[in-house]
């Protein structure tokens, strides 16, 4: 019987072959997308789950000496890209080895990640290469990296030299804790939601594809019953047919995925490319699909035959299937509170580790999406009945009756698109919240784009000492096109921080704040002192009152922020009080360095890097913020760009999800619309024979898709925006921006484009209609 089934599937003429090819193609598309999603998820897991060697901590004092290693981790920037550098020196034979290395670099050697090695080959040494002491001896393996674009250097030192550098610690093992970045939790949440969102239309597509043209198939099965096949045999044959199509599709989809995998790996997804090695659905993923999809197809096929009583005299008479009842609204009505209620308690604090996120919201989301699909047929029926009561033309009547008669079939065709609308609306309501944080440097701050901030403030009284600051400013000034504005720390402000609020003198050494005079002229409410002459090099910072040579200012908030929206320029106006004109004795909290080209900028940054590395630890007894890995010399532009990247990534992912959903949905629609035409070949042809113009039939097909689509899409859009509201309120508040924005023009344009795509897809099936119903091919007697 299986062999008979195979024979019927593969050798039963053109129609069977066409159906097989369509099924296989639709399944192949679904499987390709599924594999890509699996692979992306695996890569994401592998990447975010890689050992965080950066997290390595100092060893306890009693560790055995043979296991010890000196360790100094720092971050740096090259043209807006972060560079991670770790300096190591083995103290014993069993010093721990970093992942991605086969042996530790010796003194004067370093390993570079592939992307850094590429940069080092092309960029002049004084712009980048000089920052890493020694010669490059090898490449860091992917185990230590998050992606092929990571810039990492592992530099070998001699123990005495490394021990003298600020920030060096002794370690006895490399941390293997998972790399938990601040945003990983949000990404995981997004991935979970995204997976559900993408999976759903795929299931619909595969289900649709395997049930293609069921009515035509049923006629054939009836004929087999006539010649003596038992119902079980017919079911078996139907199953064989479905499985063959699905299996072919799965294999084809796997092939397409394998061919496209390198391309996929070269696409920057979530701002970062993945290693080809990690971009795999894993053996398990392949196995699940190759076994699961054909099995699902078999089940779907049997399910679709369950109502059909195939008597030898034909398909059991077409009696209207039970109309969808009000119960179909229940999952939607249940899903909304499940999704919304867990979010209600959370205000602006939803994050990865928030124990308040109940897994119920995933159940809720699933129910909402299932509910949209289920309630869609009920909605379709209601609208169709209303239209049927009022239809004026033949096409409206035909469409209305067909929709009222089989709302489930009709709605299935557009269910994918409706889900895409839901997803799009949900995201459209969420993304503006992030976009609000997205901004480039505006207004006065724009001219600061290429200004680098080098923070030297390690706490009150622990700034860059005056003598060293003078040297640094002079060395920087030696580069053509570089200008420097030192932001001095206000000793009175520091004194107040250390000894409580009391006016203090602006004079005196910052090393002994306690001994400073407590003069009322200290302006302890200002954190900085800036020389007016240097201000002229960066007009955006402001201008002193005429005749003043130095001013008190509150500059730190504006120049050290990591949020471009918080920059409030100018920091100096004519109202700022004058400070003593002699700044020579003041420590430098921050150096602002401006360069006229990116090459010069990187040269200056290289100088800052080397300068930092040679700053004796004893100078102030502490570590600067930079040395502690908190802030590295970064331009305002880079700061804004890094911020933007996160938002742009979120938008890209959102777009990718909506795009995928739309693609899959369009496939579903094409398959169903085409299938429904083939299925109704006979009545359509007869209508054309008796004089119904082709236009009328086109309109029928269009109406049958658009009516349920538009109705359900409106409900889906409202639901999407509705459930976004509590989600937005639960998200961390980025600033005091308006929390909720109604979807903007992009949304409406996108929805319009979606509708056009749907129209285009339906129109693409019209030639099929024309051919199938061509009177010349008719044979009715």
């Amino acid at each position: 019987m299986v062999r008979l089934g195979l024979q019927l599937t593969l050798r039963a003429g053109r129609e069977a072959i066409v159906r097989l090819v369509l099924t296989a193609a639709a399944v192949a598309i679904g499987v390709t997308v599924l594999l890509a999603v699996f692979a992306g998820y695996h890569a994401f897991q592998a990447t975010s789950g890689r050992a965080c060697w950066e997290c390595t901590q100092a060893a306890p004092a009693r560790s055995p000496a043979s296991h010890l290693e000196l360790w100094n981790y720092s971050e740096n920037i090259y043209q807006g890209r972060f560079i991670e550098e770790v300096d190591v020196a083995a103290l014993g034979p069993d010093a721990p080895l970093l992942p991605g290395l086969t042996k530790l670099p010796g003194a004067g050697q370093f390993y570079a990640s592939p992307a850094l090695a590429d940069l080092l080959k092309t960029v002049p040494r004084d712009e980048l290469g000089q920052r890493f002491a020694g010669t490059e001896v090898g490449t860091i393996g992917y185990q230590a990296l998050s992606g092929p674009t990571d810039l990492v250097a592992i530099v070998g030192y001699s123990p005495p030299k490394l021990a003298a550098l600020p920030g060096t610690i002794k370690v006895d093992h490399i941390s293997t804790t998972k790399d938990v970045q601040g945003t990983t939790g949000i990404y995981r949440l997004a991935f979970g939601i995204g997976a559900i969102i993408v999976l759903f239309p795929l299931l619909v597509l595969i289900n649709t594809a395997t049930r293609l043209a069921a009515a035509r198939r049923e006629e054939r099965f009836a004929a087999m019953r006539l010649v003596g096949a038992t119902p079980r045999q017919v079911n078996l044959i139907a199953t064989v047919e479905a499985v063959v199509g699905a299996l072919l599709g799965t294999l084809l989809g796997t092939g397409v995925f394998l061919a496209w995998r390198p391309v996929l790996a070269s696409i920057s997804f979530s701002g970062q490319r993945f290693f080809l090695q990690t971009l795999t659905p894993t053996a398990l993923g392949y196995a699940v699909l190759i076994v699961g999809v054909p099995m699902a197809a078999a089940v779907a096929s049997l399910w679709s035959l369950r109502r059909v009583r195939l008597s030898p005299l034909g398909v059991s008479r077409k009696v209207s299937p039970p109309a969808p009842t009000f119960w179909r609204l229940v999952p939607l009505l249940a899903g909304i509170p499940l999704f919304v209620v867990p979010l209600l308690g959370i205000r602006n604090s939803l994050n990865s580790n928030n124990p308040q996120i109940s897994p119920l919201i995933f159940v809720g989301l699933f129910l909402i999406m299932a509910g949209l699909v289920m309630s869609g047929s009920w909605l379709t029926m209601q609208v169709a009945r209303a239209l049927g009561r009022t239809a004026r033309g033949g096409s409206a009547l035909l469409a209305a009756r067909r929709l009222a008669d089989s709302p489930k079939t009709a709605f299935r065709a557009v269910s994918g698109l409706v889900l895409a609308v839901f997803v799009g609306s949900l995201l459209a309501a969420i993304v503006p919240v992030f976009s609000y944080a997205e901004s480039t440097l505006g207004g006065n701050a724009a001219s600061l784009t290429n200004v680098m901030r080098a923070p030297y403030d390690a706490g009150p009284g622990l700034e860059l000492p005056p003598a060293r600051a003078t040297t640094l400013v002079r060395e920087l000034g030696a580069y053509k096109g570089v200008s420097v504005v030192p932001i001095y720390a206000n000793p009175s402000f520091n004194a107040q921080l250390m000894f409580g609020p009391a006016p203090s003198s602006p004079t005196g050494s910052h090393h002994e704040p306690a001994e400073q005079g407590q003069s009322p002229g200290g302006y302890a409410q200002y954190d900085s002192i800036i020389s007016c002459a240097s201000l002229r090099q960066m007009p955006a910072l402001g201008k002193c009152a005429p005749g003043v040579s130095a001013v008190y200012a509150n500059a730190n908030n504006d120049i050290l922020t990591d949020n471009p929206l918080e920059i409030d320029m100018p920091v100096v106006t004519a109202n700022n009080p004058a400070a003593p004109s002699n700044t020579a004795g003041l420590g430098v909290g921050t150096l602002l360095v401006k360069a006229n080209s990116s090459a010069t900028l990187e040269k200056a940054r290289t100088l800052l890097t080397l300068f930092d590395a040679t700053m004796p630890m004893s100078s102030a007894g502490g570590l600067t913020a930079w040395q502690m890995g908190q802030l590295e010399p970064e331009t305002f532009g880079e700061m804004a760009e890094i911020r933007n990247n996160d938002v742009t990534n979120a938008e890209t992912v959102a777009l990718a999800v909506v795009g995928l959903t739309l693609l899959v949905a369009a496939c579903s629609l094409a398959v169903t619309a085409g299938g429904s035409i083939v299925e109704r070949k006979r009545p359509f042809t007869l209508l054309r024979l008796s004089g119904a113009p082709g236009r009328t039939l086109y309109r029928v097909i269009l109406l049958e898709s658009l009516l349920p689509l538009v109705t359900a899409a409106l409900v889906a859009a409202a639901t999407g925006v509705g459930v976004a509201i509590p989600l937005v309120k639960a998200l961390p508040k980025l600033r005091n921006e308006p929390n909720l924005a109604l979807p903007g023009p992009v949304y409406y344009v996108a929805m319009g484009v979606g509708l056009l795509v749907a129209l285009a897809v339906i129109s693409s099936t019209l030639p099929v209609l024309a051919r199938v119903t061509q009177p010349d091919n008719a044979r009715f007697e």
Binding site: L686, P775, E781
Partner: protein
């Protein structure tokens, strides 16, 4: 009443020959290698009821489809009411079919999702007749054919004879000039078939419609004014029979 026309046994007369409504002249039609019609001639007068007989596969349906402008003949001419039907483009032929012709086939011609009344009203709606009027006329025709009370049923819920009468109502509702029926009783038992045939012939006569009726059942043919036989793609015989009844 009936307009009995006695055609000559020679070739048909001039194009606008008096009384001829539908004509096929030397119509040739092949499907690939298979010749279905090999020069068929047939003239049907206005109001005439003609039975087309012949063995299965002889070309009856093909001839009917050519006359109705469904098929374009490979060569030869098809005339209807002074118009060269085979020269019209598809749009004009579609319009002709919709406005002047009615069709009854063997089975399966009703749209399954539509109710009986919908099915009958459909051609009127397609002709842009108002909804109210369309349904009134549909209900009138259903009643006239003895189908009152079945207006809300689907085709799946009708017996074979009922379905054919609904199809007949649908063919008649537009007041067509010509009704083409291809083995309309072929799927019915003889008693039901006879009843449907009675109604078809009566209605056609009452409406003054011309009826071209394909059948291979001699008893069915007995309802006609005239009987022709198709064999191997040729119309063999222009046989004059008496007026039925």
């Amino acid at each position: 009443m009936s307009a009995v026309h006695v055609p000559s046994l020679t070739l048909p007369g001039p194009p606008d020959g008096p009384g001829y409504l539908v004509e096929a002249r030397d119509v040739v039609k092949s499907f690939g290698e298979t010749p279905a019609l090999r020069g068929a001639n047939l003239s049907v007068a206005r109001g005439e009821i003609v039975a087309v007989m012949g063995p299965s596969g002889s070309g009856k349906s093909t001839l009917l489809h050519c006359l109705a402008g469904i098929f374009k003949p490979d060569s030869g001419e098809v005339w209807c009411d002074g118009q060269r039907v085979d020269r019209l483009d598809e749009t004009k032929r579609t319009k002709l079919r919709r406005q002047c012709f009615g069709f009854v086939f063997q089975f399966g011609q009703l749209v399954p999702e539509l109710s009986t009344a919908d099915n009958v009203a459909l051609p009127l709606l397609l002709n842009r007749v108002g909804r109210k009027q369309a349904y009134e006329r549909a209900v009138y025709w259903l009643a006239r054919l003895g189908l009152e009370g079945l207006e809300g049923r689907r085709s799946g819920e009708l017996s074979g004879g009922q379905a054919q009468r609904v199809a007949l109502a649908r063919a008649l509702v537009t007041k067509p000039t010509v009704i083409f029926a291809d083995e309309p009783t072929g799927s019915l038992d003889s008693l039901t078939g006879e009843m449907v045939m009675d109604q078809m012939v009566d209605s056609a006569r009452a409406e003054g419609a011309t009826l071209v009726l394909v059948t291979h059942d001699a008893r069915v043919a007995a309802f006609a004014d005239r009987e022709v036989v198709v064999r191997d793609g040729l119309v063999l015989d222009h046989q004059i029979v008496g007026v039925a009844g």
